[in-house]
């Protein structure tokens, strides 16, 4: 693999093929790539060191206490698994709705879904006091526990995400294994992973059927997973947590933040590898519209929740409401409202800012704001005393920040490594969509577009 920079002529040279573009990150890894890679590795190592500190000294090295016993790790768990919902939306839902513009982003979406899910699924273990005892889940599970439901749900969703990522990849492996620019090791890897894919009718049919089944399956699975994740909060009697809206709330939030992550990853790779010709601006506009719809839905859910609690103002509920909206956490909350709900919608709605660059900025706002929102769901209700006593506080320590930063870097690392091995564009799916569009066009168009018609 030549360590060369990607060609700066862009969009692409006229003779460049889809395959060339898809393999560009695989074939070209310049200095910038290694710099970013090195930085991410360093951050991951810091995270590992921080976690090692926690293993040695106990959870006391975090900022948690007996009132605020769930904090940054639980926030990250919900947030990172939520980020994986972009894959479900783009790859599955858009497939089922027949959105043809999804082709150029499905691979990136599936990869970010896999990466965020793998890292997010670590956090239930990271926040345990005795992580070495997880085997007990399989020996003495207590099936009434939302945590057991979490385990089953996340494991199942992980399998589905792997399948959703892996199956279309088989087609690409087959198609691209003959690419002249591939080195011998990559070629061998592609050959093995192609399972004999030659693009025959039969093979295509099998793959399409499989992807349809998985797409159908992953939608209710995604809904179940984040609903079950929300049950860890809402199936307690705590004010601020015991709310019926939590299930839908978490699911909508997950899809919202997931789409933002897909947008960000796509923009980064599009810019870095000059894939503008293959990933048109239309994709970002459409993803932007999806984000607007989800922002409205999430904002609706948030304010419905607040109105319901605020109007009746039961003592304990009102205390949580006040700390969120008016008192200690007000800056974070209204910051979330501004950068998570208002700014992204404004950016997409105004035609002038409906560009990939601005929408990328919007997605960064969404990602940050949604992480903060998960924090606001977790911590402020815990600061309020249950019977008597003082309001508790929570400040994350360097250990917690280190672990979370390392995990986030790990997500980036996984994505980078995947796209060093595998094509960044889903060649099979793009072609398949084009074939379908052509078939549609010939079917609709009049059978003989004769010159007389134009006369």
């Amino acid at each position: 693999m030549a360590a060369t920079e990607p060609p700066t002529t862009g969009p692409q040279a006229p003779s460049e093929t889809l395959a060339d573009a898809a393999l560009r990150p695989v074939l070209h890894a310049g200095r910038r790539w290694w710099l970013v890679f090195g930085a991410l590795v360093a951050l991951v190592l810091i995270g590992v060191a921080a976690y090692a500190t926690q293993l040695v000294h106990g959870l006391g090295v975090t900022g948690k206490n007996d009132q605020v016993f769930w904090a940054l790790y639980t926030t990250s768990l919900v947030a990172f698994i939520g980020f994986s919902y972009g894959g479900a939306l783009v790859s599955a839902i858009l497939r089922l709705t027949g959105a043809t513009w999804r082709g150029s982003v499905v691979r990136i979406a599936e990869t970010t879904a896999l990466a965020t899910l793998l890292v997010g699924a670590l956090f239930p273990v990271i926040h345990l006091g005795h992580p070495e005892r997880v085997w007990e889940f399989f020996v003495t599970p207590q099936f009434n526990s939302p945590i057991v439901w979490d385990l089953v749900a996340i494991a199942t969703y992980l399998l589905a995400t792997v399948v959703l990522f892996g199956l279309p990849l088989v087609a690409d492996m087959g198609t691209l294994s003959a690419h002249p620019a591939l080195g011998p090791r990559r070629r061998r890897l592609y050959h093995v992973l192609s399972f004999g894919w030659r693009g025959s009718h039969a093979q295509r049919r099998h793959l399409e059927n499989a992807l349809t089944v998985v797409a159908i399956l992953i939608v209710p699975l995604a809904i179940v997973v984040h609903t079950v994740l929300s049950y860890a909060f809402s199936l307690t009697s705590r004010p601020g947590w015991h709310s019926t809206i939590f299930g839908p709330y978490f699911v909508i939030g997950a899809i919202y933040s997931g789409v933002a992550v897909v947008v960000l990853a796509t923009v980064l790779y599009r810019r870095a590898y000059h894939l503008e010709g293959w990933i048109p601006a239309k994709v970002f506009r459409n993803l932007g519209y999806v984000m607007v719809a989800l922002a409205i839905a999430y904002g609706y859910a948030t304010f419905t929740e607040l109105t319901t609690e605020g109007y009746v103002s039961e003592v304990a509920d009102a205390a949580v409401l006040y700390t969120l909206v008016l008192e200690r956490y007000a800056a974070l909350f209204w910051g979330f409202v501004l950068f998570g709900l208002i700014v992204p919608v404004v950016i997409v709605v105004i035609p002038r800012t409906r560009t990939p660059g601005w929408i990328a900025f919007a997605s960064i706002c969404v990602i940050g704001a949604m992480y903060v929102k998960r924090f606001l769901i977790t911590v402020p209700p815990l600061t309020r005393p249950l019977i008597g006593g003082e309001t508790a506080t929570y400040t994350p320590t360097l250990v917690e920040l280190g672990v979370v930063t390392g995990a986030a870097a790990g997500i980036g690392l996984i994505v980078m490594v995947v796209f060093r091995l595998f094509p960044v564009l889903a060649v099979y799916e793009i072609e398949e969509i084009e074939a379908q569009e052509r078939a549609e066009a010939t079917r609709i168009a009049p059978p003989a577009a004769s010159p007389q018609a134009r006369a």
Partner: protein, 231 residues
């Protein structure tokens, strides 16, 4: 005037001494006799205890104590205290109640026996004319009157704490759902891979734009039909 009072004749001295002695001693003797318990029928009490089970619904079981004087006559209107030693924390004295004797000399306290037998102490504190009395007795209860396994009273909640319907179905629900979904995913994934591999020679390798027409029955995938499509 001299010979008006005849001197005490010598024979009168013993009699006189006796009279003086009696006058001096008698009150002492008399009072001593008053201090010693005179065995009269008025001030000795006896106390008997028995368990009176009830056979009528709504009427509680009773512990009855009869207070009487030694000749058997009932003592009415006096308070009797019932205490038992409970078999807990090394034996704790618990007052079962206080009751006043009725005309028949019987004081009753309603009880619900919690153990097969009680070590009961019944006491009468005494009064002006009556002796205090304390009786310790083991009272054995007929088994059908003893209440065992009593639980705290159920509060106002509607849900029976020992009814757990969700617990009954949860393992089945989760187990079945997980099994089905996993099976479908694995079946679909592995099945598709297997079919892809199996059918690699079936049908023409058609990719849009690449209509080489070359049969793929020969050669390896690296050569045939795997070129990048035209944009």
């Amino acid at each position: 005037m001299t010979g008006a009072i005849s001197p005490l004749h010598r024979s009168h001295v013993p009699l006189g001494l006796l009279v003086v002695a009696s006058v001096l001693v008698l009150p002492v003797v008399a009072s001593a006799q008053e201090a010693s318990p005179a065995v009269t029928t008025d001030d000795v009490t006896s106390l008997t205890v028995e368990f009176v089970p009830s056979t009528v619904k709504g009427v509680p079981h009773y512990l009855a104590a009869r207070l009487s004087t030694s000749d058997g006559s009932a003592v009415a209107g006096e308070q009797v205290r019932f205490v038992r030693v409970a078999d807990i924390f090394g034996g704790r004295k618990v007052e079962l109640g206080r009751a006043t004797t009725d005309n028949g000399g019987v004081a009753r306290v309603a009880i619900v026996p919690r153990e097969p037998d009680y070590d009961v102490t019944v006491s009468f504190a005494g009064s002006e004319s009556l002796e205090p009395r304390t009786v310790e007795q083991r009272v054995v209860f007929p088994p059908e009157t003893v209440v065992t396994g009593a639980r705290p009273p159920h509060g106002g909640g509607l849900v029976d704490p020992h009814l757990r319907p969700l617990a009954e179905v949860m393992p089945g629900v989760i187990g079945s759902a997980a099994l089905i979904v996993w099976a479908v995913l694995v079946f679909v994934a592995l099945g598709t891979l297997w079919r892809v591999r199996r059918d690699r020679d079936r049908g023409f390798p058609t990719s849009p734009g690449v209509g080489t027409g070359a049969g793929s029955s020969d050669g390896d995938a690296a050569v045939s039909g795997a070129q990048g499509p035209q944009p």
